[in-house]
Amino acid sequence: MDLDELYRLLRGSHVQAVSIVNTLRDPLVVLDDDFRVLTANPAFYKTFSTSRDETIGTALADLGNGQWNIPELRLLLDQVIPRSTSVIDYEVRAEFPHIGPRTMLVSAQRLSHPDSGQRILLFTIVDATERRQADDDKDILIGELGHRIKNLLAVTRAIARRTGVEGRSAEEYRDDFLGRFDALARSLAVSTQEAEADLGQLVRAVMEPWLEETSAITLDGQGAIALLPRQAMSLGMILHELATNALKHGALSVPGGLLDISWNLAEDRDGQRQVHLCWRESNGPEASPPEAVGFGTCLIRFATEVDLKGQAELSYRQDGFVADLTFPQ
């Protein structure tokens, strides 16, 4: 059966088959009984950057670099099709000429000429490379998300465990816990809006509950300083502990007390960029080191030294508490 005959056959079936085949977006080839190409649609030439001359009359196994010369596929076409008449979405991963490594899903359908009984094979190919890549990316993302959620639960649990209970009412415990929990949530919100968090945004987000209530707090930072999400989380928790202390014992516990938070980015002698954040309370009660080191102070030191790999210098001065934090960006 030649092409004209096929077209006639298809026209005879009252189906505008040729134009349907030609407008199909997925590549389609028609093979004869020996798996030689009888015809191919424009999408086939376009997808595989090939021409009619290279394609028509060529055996399927010899097309391109021989990507279709797959024993398993051959077996499917040879043995399965005569019995089941079709193959759906058989996956072929190969390096194709001109277009590189691809994942193709192959479907094949056997048709018989009603008069001559000649059999042809409709062979359609879907380029699933991007879809497969997107599926893989999605799986990775879901896995990562699952791990992050577990991690976040562990962090929340640590906050609940470490928020003090001795000599405090349930309400006090709840408020302290939620204060830390909210600081965590605010820090996370800043770092997930974009891949990197901006230091100024983080300070504003964590300090927001108090910035609204008082004009005693001034913020002073220039330019954007990018922080990794984990740095943002650590610094956010540190800022919250500093704010809590200032409210309980420091400058924010009395009228007229002032708090100045300033930050900048500078290069140290080795050319490593160091973030410097200064928390300076003034006009408040005289600061004195706590008699027993609480979780808040532990957290400030631990987060700065272990997680941010920096230094925390805590000074208890006559006019107020000062914290100088330095860590590599």
């Binding site: 991690n151 562990a154 640590a158 532990c298 790999k309």
Partner: protein, 106 residues
């Protein structure tokens, strides 16, 4: 960050002296260059890197360890270094961690 601090405080509350913590595989290996702990607690993953090289070093040094990992440890390459170590999971409860450490110690 808070998880490591929590674990550190759990251990201190139970009379352990904490030599770490180390936040990275390199940091943990450096720590083992200078110090010889009696027992170690390992997260499965430090800043995105499997903890396997640290587990391997601990095995070489004959130091027992327990894992506290949210991951299935068999998913790692070279997980034979982790084989046989108890995974107390993450998050971990104080009683489970302390019991596992006591089992791990000779």
């Amino acid at each position: 960050m808070l998880i490591a601090l929590d674990v550190q405080m759990m251990l201190q509350d139970n009379g352990y002296t904490v030599l770490g913590p180390a936040g990275t595989v390199e940091g943990a290996l450096r720590l083992l260059d200078d110090m010889r702990p009696d027992v170690a607690v390992l997260d499965g993953n430090l800043r995105g890197r499997p903890v396997v090289p640290v587990a391997q070093r601990l095995r070489d040094l004959g130091i027992p360890f327990v894992l506290s990992s949210a991951y299935d440890i068999l998913a790692f390459d070279g997980c034979e270094a982790l084989a046989g170590a108890e995974n107390v999971g993450k998050p971990v409860t104080e009683s489970r961690l302390i019991a596992a450490l006591q089992r791990a110690l000779p």
